[in-house]
């Protein structure tokens, strides 16, 4: 069954999980249902990736309709990787979430939390798996609307304002995207991405296509928090419940990045080549700005969640930089960093969530010496932090190595220098955290605390362990990311 219906199963399982979780209403039962659905989805995603590596492309026609009429789901080396990443993070988040959610959300709302998390997962997987431009918009809105609810479930009243602000920005982004798709549809008469690619060369005037590309890229850039369109992100991550932050930080922006890559290489790159010229130079400038300015902003944060959120904006900058370099090493680096950053930020936000679970705060100045009372949690945060800097031996080093290689290949030696220079700022904000949690005497608040419960530690340790593992032996992620880059570049003439 997986071999035939895999592409649609991967989306439908969490969708039904959301429905059942909302219906059962009992916290523990809703959690169990979500976990089962997520595990099922993960198994299907892995099976799909294995199939894709053997066969190349898996195409699925919804309802048996041909692509010109119906909707096609299409899995290749690019989104196969994204599917596995997103579902794996979802499973780990759910294992982690049970204790964390119990302490942060009132009991009547817990089932709704899991329903929203599953809907968000559905939307993200749908965005990745579909080969239909309008279908992407529908899934984008499914994931966005559930994300707004997830953020609004945070304890602080500022979570409401953060959710509202994200709703405004996110809707503008999605509407920009749909305007772009409308222009593409007017020009080509189809919504299937593969057919759009085939028909683009027949279009006489590129003006409509340039307008379409501009709308689509700006719309997606809002969702992936490309600097300077990132203003919604720090508050959203800071005030959302801890487990929601873990999931969103590791997956949501990553799927948006995938979509950007799909459009600039897979759709527009073929015909116009503007995927490699105008968009590339804009992306390089904005990515570099994100790497420096957002990292600098992170240095001055006192709230660890906000600090890591600003760091996320900076790290997304590295990913988009890799895409903008538009060569094999650069895109490999970008996809490696999508995976690695998801692992590192997942571990880091899990550690922060565990600290909140025990101490009730994530203000840096109240957490001095917490490393002595919560050594495993603090160690996971440290490993993730070292990964964010790009210290050799962590996976962050591998992705930055490929990015530097890509910069040299593209002839931008100064970009390579700036990648290294921006890592120094990461040393500052990670160093500040490390100094407080390890080298200061424990204060009154931190002295009597115990280590976080085992089921919160386990997924954290898994993610931190993978950060190290992929840093020492990068063969598996590098070959997957390399295959993704190959597919994206292969679409260009």
């Amino acid at each position: 069954m997986i071999a035939v219906h895999g592409p649609v199963l991967v989306v439908i399982l969490p969708l039904f999980g959301a429905l059942v979780a909302a219906l059962v209403r009992r916290p523990l039962l809703a959690w169990a249902v979500s976990l089962i659905a997520a595990i099922g989805s993960f198994v299907v995603a892995v099976a799909l990736l294995v199939q894709v590596r053997a066969e190349g492309v898996v195409s699925y026609r919804i309802g048996g309709w041909a692509p010109e009429i119906g909707i096609e789901y299409r899995v290749d080396a690019v989104n196969g990787l994204i599917l596995v990443l997103v579902t794996a993070i979802a499973v780990l988040t759910l294992v982690y979430a049970r204790r964390s959610v119990l302490s942060e959300i009132i009991p009547e709302r817990i089932a709704w939390f899991y329903a929203m998390l599953m809907l968000c997962l559905t939307g993200l997987l749908g965005m990745a798996v579909t080969g239909d431009a309008f279908n992407v918009f529908v899934f984008l809105e499914i994931s966005s609307l559930s994300t707004y609810v997830l953020i609004a479930l945070g304890r602080d009243r500022r979570a409401l304002v953060a959710a509202y602000q994200y709703l405004i920005v996110g809707t503008i982004g999605a509407t920009f995207y749909v305007i772009g798709v409308g222009l593409l549809y007017l020009a080509t008469g189809t919504l299937n991405l593969g057919l759009i690619v085939e028909r683009l060369p027949e279009i006489a005037s590129p003006r409509a296509l340039i307008a379409a590309e501009a709308f689509i890229v700006v719309g997606i850039a809002l969702k992936l928090a490309l600097f300077p369109l990132h203003a919604w992100l720090p508050n959203a991550y800071a005030y959302a419940p801890s487990s929601a932050t873990v999931f969103l930080a590791s997956t949501a922006t990553k799927v948006a990045v995938y979509l950007l890559a799909r459009y600039i290489f897979g759709v527009f790159g073929v015909h116009l080549g503007i995927g490699s010229v105008a968009i590339a130079s804009v992306l390089i400038v904005l990515s570099l700005a994100a790497m420096f300015i957002a990292s600098a902003a992170a240095v001055f944060q006192n709230d660890i969640k906000r600090l890591l959120a600003f760091s996320s904006v900076a790290q997304v900058g590295y990913i988009t930089l890799g895409l903008a370099l538009a060569n094999q090493s650069g895109i490999t680096g970008a996809f490696l960093h999508i995976v690695n950053h998801a692992l590192m930020k997942g571990a880091a936000f899990m550690a922060v969530g565990a600290i909140i679970y025990r101490s009730g705060t994530c203000k840096l100045d109240e957490l001095s010496g917490i490393g002595r009372t919560m050594p495993v949690t603090a160690a996971a945060l440290t490993i993730a932090g070292l990964g964010l800097i790009g210290v050799p031996g962590t996976s962050g080093f591998i992705s930055k190595y490929y990015l530097v290689l890509g910069a040299f290949e593209a002839g931008f030696w100064w970009v390579a220098l700036l990648i290294v220079a921006s890592s120094v700022i990461a040393v500052l904000y990670v160093g500040r955290m490390m100094e407080v949690i390890w080298f200061r005497e424990p204060n009154q608040r931190c002295r009597g605390l115990g280590e976080a419960p085992a089921e919160m530690l386990a997924p954290m340790v898994v993610l931190a362990g993978m950060t190290i593992w992929f840093g020492l032996d990068a063969e598996l992620p590098a070959s997957l990311a390399g295959a993704a880059a190959h597919v994206l570049l292969g679409a260009r003439p």
Partner: protein, 129 residues
Amino acid sequence: MNLITGLMADATNIATIFLMVAGLYVVIARGNMVKKLVGLSLFQSSVYLLYLLPGKILGGSAPILDPKLTVYANPLPHVLILTAIVVGIGTLALGLTLVVRIKEAYGTFEEDEIIARDGAKAGEQGDVA
């Protein structure tokens, strides 16, 4: 006839773009959270027009297989926009729900007042970017 259809096409395009820009302006310029949502709704509505208007053919009928009918309008944009309208309603409903909750929590839904009420706490966090 050509002149009339040409003028109509221009007028509808201008209406679309006016709604688009006006909606976006309201979202950016207004501090009142409900008014922002109204602007957002206008902005989304312009997209409905963007999809629907080029699909309209004067004298064209619904796509029904019948020897008497020869001119059809494309039905796909209508279906797409039906979906987009549902999404728009969902977004507006969720946005208004959030505004109700914000009003309960803060006693106001003016953005600058909310920032002022959180200001004492938010100020120390130093938003550089």
